[in-house]
Amino acid sequence: MTGTPPLVAAEVLAGQRRAVSRALTVVERGGPEAEALLQTLLPHTGHAHVVGITGAPGVGKSTLVDGLALAARAQGQTAGIIAVDPSSPFTGGAILGDRIRMQDATMDPGVFMRSLASRGQTGGLSRAAAASLTVLDASGFDWVLVETVGAGQSEIEIMALAESVMVVLAPGLGDDIQAIKAGILEIADLFVVNKADRPGADASVRELRAMLRLAADPPPWTPPIVTTVAAERRGLEQILAELARHRAFLEETGRRADRRTHQVETLVRQAVWDAVARRLAAAREDPGWARALTAVAAGTRDATGLADQVLRGAGGMADGIH
């Protein structure tokens, strides 16, 4: 908008809130400005402990994140939060309601919370998330907490960006273990059974223990199980302690560097993906696109050749078709 001063990377690095907020908008949008900003910020990352929080709707993730941020503050640390909510595939719109349950932490000057809509992008969500984590990490937050509803490929990709992944369950929401076993169980570094004051919490913990014992080889890290009542702020310090223990494990075993490489790879992979998507969009705008497709359908042109032409970005889709 007019009258808005240019975004200064130094202000982002200094954790200046308005600059951090605008930087998040820039990197979420993507494009050359985002790439340039990320390039400046990347060398300043690696300080934050990036934690992914996932679990079914209603298990109390947002309340837990609110409480964790406050618990971190009580220990003199700061926290940046990214909360992901789905966009409508039909209108692209979204209602982002995670702030409702994060009222306590978000007024603290040592906490910054941003809502991120999934925007229906293939893989683009993990790019936006990776870029947002980069901004918050570079801004100097001690903890970066990213919250998603735990279902689907892109959510798992986001969790793979985190150093520590927390899977949250609550008793009484049907068969918890069934709900988490597809893909999510394997990525957990820490299980949290929230709403532990409700009936069935003990059973959930027992089931989890049993499931973890089923592993054929004893894994180098066995995910601990923490019980919490986030609404009453019970059990949160224990989560922070287990997360710190997990980070120490990652560092001792060299896995922390691997995760960082993975995060950078995601940024690169998504930049490639974006470039391919742009080429494809341009090809579909080409006046010869429909004729080129017809030729493929008729067998007078092969699909791979057309694909190569799209990737080259040369245009002239119908050239050579008669």
Partner: protein, 173 residues
């Protein structure tokens, strides 16, 4: 066959919003097209904060507005009830919204609105489009506009008018 894989990738994520659309058949192409458009275009999505400052507990109106704006393709951050002016301004700052839509039915607008407008200004967000809805007596409208509100939408407003107004004011920025 990179592109064939790319084409397939979306529908095979059954839980992503786009993937889910496959189940509703005919609308799938449309949804996929929109998702592609958003991804490829890098367009600026309009972000709106819908806030309920003050002590009244009636957020039916705010939710109707939030829903209408969402259906118009905007990203709507809803704060929940009983927000202080500081909370509203802080949420606008952290979420980097272009629009703040306030819903006040308690009659406290003469106190709350200038305070919120002042905080937005102070945070470097003086250019945010500030809208007010709810119960605002006719004689208060002028003072609300003076305080920095762009427009007051009273009871009975067609949500399409609000959508159009926002799109006209911030759509091209």
């Amino acid at each position: 066959m990179v592109l064939a894989a790319a084409e397939r990738a979306t529908p095979t994520s059954p839980c992503s919003p786009v993937g889910r659309a496959v189940w509703s058949g005919a609308r799938y192409d449309d949804a996929l097209g929109r998702a592609r458009g958003m991804r490829d275009g890098g367009e600026r999505v309009i972000r709106v904060l819908v806030a309920k400052p003050g002590l009244d507990g009636h957020d039916r109106g705010a939710k109707v507005i939030a829903r209408a704006l969402r259906d118009a393709g905007m990203e709507v951050v809803y704060t929940g009830l009983h927000q202080t002016p500081e909370q509203v301004a802080e949420a606008a700052l952290q979420e980097d919204v272009q629009v703040v839509a306030l819903s006040i039915l308690s009659g406290a607008h003469p106190t709350l609105v200038p305070r919120i407008a002042g905080l937005l200004q102070q945070n470097g967000q003086g250019d945010v489009l500030l809208l007010l809805g709810g119960i605002v007596p006719e004689q208060d409208v002028a003072s609300m506009l003076d305080a920095g509100v762009s427009r007051v939408f009273g009871p009975g407003t067609d949500t399409r008018d609000i959508v159009r107004y926002i799109q006209e004011r911030v759509g091209d920025s």
